[in-house]
Symmetry: C2
Subunit: 233 residues, 2 copies
Amino acid sequence: MTYDLWYWDGIPGRGEFVRLALEAGGIPYRERARQPDASLVDDMQAPRKQPPFAPPYLVAGRLTLGQTANILLYLGDKHGLAPASASGRYWTHQLQLTIADMVAEAHDTHHPVAASAYYEDQRDEALRRAANFRAERIPKFLGYFERVLDGYGDWLAGGRRWSYADLSLFHLVDGLLYAFPRRMGAVAGRYPKVMALHARVATLPALQAYFSSGRRLPFGDGIFRYYPELDGD
Amino acid sequence: MTYDLWYWDGIPGRGEFVRLALEAGGIPYRERARQPDASLVDDMQAPRKQPPFAPPYLVAGRLTLGQTANILLYLGDKHGLAPASASGRYWTHQLQLTIADMVAEAHDTHHPVAASAYYEDQRDEALRRAANFRAERIPKFLGYFERVLDGYGDWLAGGRRWSYADLSLFHLVDGLLYAFPRRMGAVAGRYPKVMALHARVATLPALQAYFSSGRRLPFGDGIFRYYPELDGD
């Protein structure tokens, strides 16, 4: 079965967390909203008993799965992208939800008032929220993942192979390096295991074809944005 | 096995979503941080291979589960608090994650800059964020749940019995009624099925002992707070 992944074209966004799992797992999928005949807005409004609240969503035969972490839970179960044990499954998912929390906070650094309004109209608020994110939240989250890797070794859920949470942490760190290069430059040395995981995923053989394909979109004006005034040491 | 639920004492917080599932399911648990010998801060720092990022967390024998939605996924699987089919399980979890998104946004109406700072120090930003939440986000989320119930009937995941997502939607709506009484008064009529679900859970026989026990804490200064200036029609 070929999955249909639906996500806004033009930015990696939350779709990228799903994409990385599909790509690294060698799982066939179509990037549905990038096809000429497709309209994400229309598809979102199509009658469905289990409608997604927002993209990304994955159509898997008769099933439509929404919520990034839920899609990854499904793919993890179905394609062995997480430990097979019950405790390993819940643990990997727990990590994914913590990654999702940090992703939402990274977004809100530039949109602390309204996702629907322009950055320029909430710049003052963004300056304050980003300062707090840099000072408190980056150390808290990255310190947590460092602690986890300290206990586990190369991968967040242990073992000799990556899980979907490792791919997501890679993309999260990648986004932070893009949006907060000065801050990340100042603190990266405190999180050597997190940074090593980032490098490890960046060089995964299973992802090289994707990385060189041109299909991995630049961050642009998505969740992770670079505004120099929101960055700092 | 008696579970240990760890959450800050004094507010319902995110712990309440877990508590409602345990109570409605008749599942034995101890409210660990409310016991005189217990320190949540100390326990959070205890060495653990799978440390939680934040409360609530549930200790289930040798397993420690963090992230509210992940705990509910586990309890759902273990105690039949969600449909047994694979599609029903992912669907219930997807709904729970959407509820969690709205809960986080409700929190940020009064803390749009920093969770660690006082409300009074981010009141200007809160006024703007709350206005957007009332105008755009309440209709978007509640409209979504109304649409789901339109397709399903009494319960979000169908069938003749509640799932953990129904209990969580009840608590979310309860929190919105507390924090935004004017706004909810103005729009509740548009979401009759959501409001009927709220009433249905409020009168569930399995929850009456809990509701009258005094253990269900008032919202107070938790996720849902009542500041008259953040409310409006």
